[in-house]
Symmetry: C2
Subunit: 196 residues, 2 copies
Amino acid sequence: MAKTTKGKASRKAFILQKAATMFREKGFNATSMRDLAESVGIEAASLYNHIKSKNEILEAICFEVANRYNSNMDGIEAGNQKPIVKVETLLRFHIRQMTAHYEEVYVSDREWKHLNEPYLSNFHNQRRSYRKRFASIIEEGISRNEIRKIDSSTAVLIILHAISGIESWHRSTAKVNAQELEDNMVMIMIDGLRKQ
Amino acid sequence: MAKTTKGKASRKAFILQKAATMFREKGFNATSMRDLAESVGIEAASLYNHIKSKNEILEAICFEVANRYNSNMDGIEAGNQKPIVKVETLLRFHIRQMTAHYEEVYVSDREWKHLNEPYLSNFHNQRRSYRKRFASIIEEGISRNEIRKIDSSTAVLIILHAISGIESWHRSTAKVNAQELEDNMVMIMIDGLRKQ
DNA sequence: CCTACCGATCGGTAGG
DNA sequence: CCTACCGATCGGTAGG
């Protein structure tokens, strides 16, 4: 029984992984259950022995990613680093998530609007909450005079979207390695383009 | 006859505008011709008196946006501003395009992968070319010692994606006006988050 | 995990 | 610009 359960679970994980890749490549709506079944190596009807619906797959991907980000934010808020360091830590975490799990992160980022209720509202609320927590750290940095006087919500949006751009890079070339990429991004975002 | 032509053209423009809004809200594949027809106020079949296919709508939106960006880049390359100023000018142009035509820019940015060949390859090549031209300006700035020594391709991706984040902001609140937003973004990207 | 199949919906056309 | 309609494909189910 333990064997069956384990086999089923890993089969489901395999399906989710294939789905993440296809959802990223073609989009959620443009990926049919027949497409997905083919890439898994079974018939479309057989997918339903492992998942309840196409939307359940998207839910699994989106909320797994969201949970990782939320947990990390919990840890950072609990720490007592300086705000500017917290921002850099968050930045590095985001970049690493993007390079390590970029199929899932990309899908969670770009395809979540296809979630159904109540998951759609739930996810939307989690995003807003995450951004607010991020903005609070920036505001704390401004009030401690470590961060330039800017609109914190704008800064958060810039940071989050700037990082989401890695995927294009990730796919195009591999001429800069992951660590160089991370350092470059942190330098640009923290210190800006202009040479002092 | 001139009257008919003009009427037809503006009717088509109206359809494109409605389509841009719906493609942004729901995505290209999730928007049906029946959805679009309803928002235009006619039957689905009647759309085909103005457009040849659903994909033609997407092509019109994507290439119109691409042409605006390319023309602007032509002008900037021809100018003799300092590279760091050229970057700031590009940044401000992107931000203004995003706030002024954000339905079309968003669709062009996020839905272009649903273009059919040969438009898909054409668009893809235009994007790559645009990024290279942008990166060249940054490299010129680095060699003139105006811009920090960073990977120029990474910088371009960060900048372009950072700006695409405005749409979320644009939709959420209007507590910061367009000019403040632009200045905030330029400050963050050019001078960074950290206070000197 | 498969064969067989269903109702719904899609983009698009014919003909007026 | 509409009515009527088509072939294709979709997500999903029944039954084994």
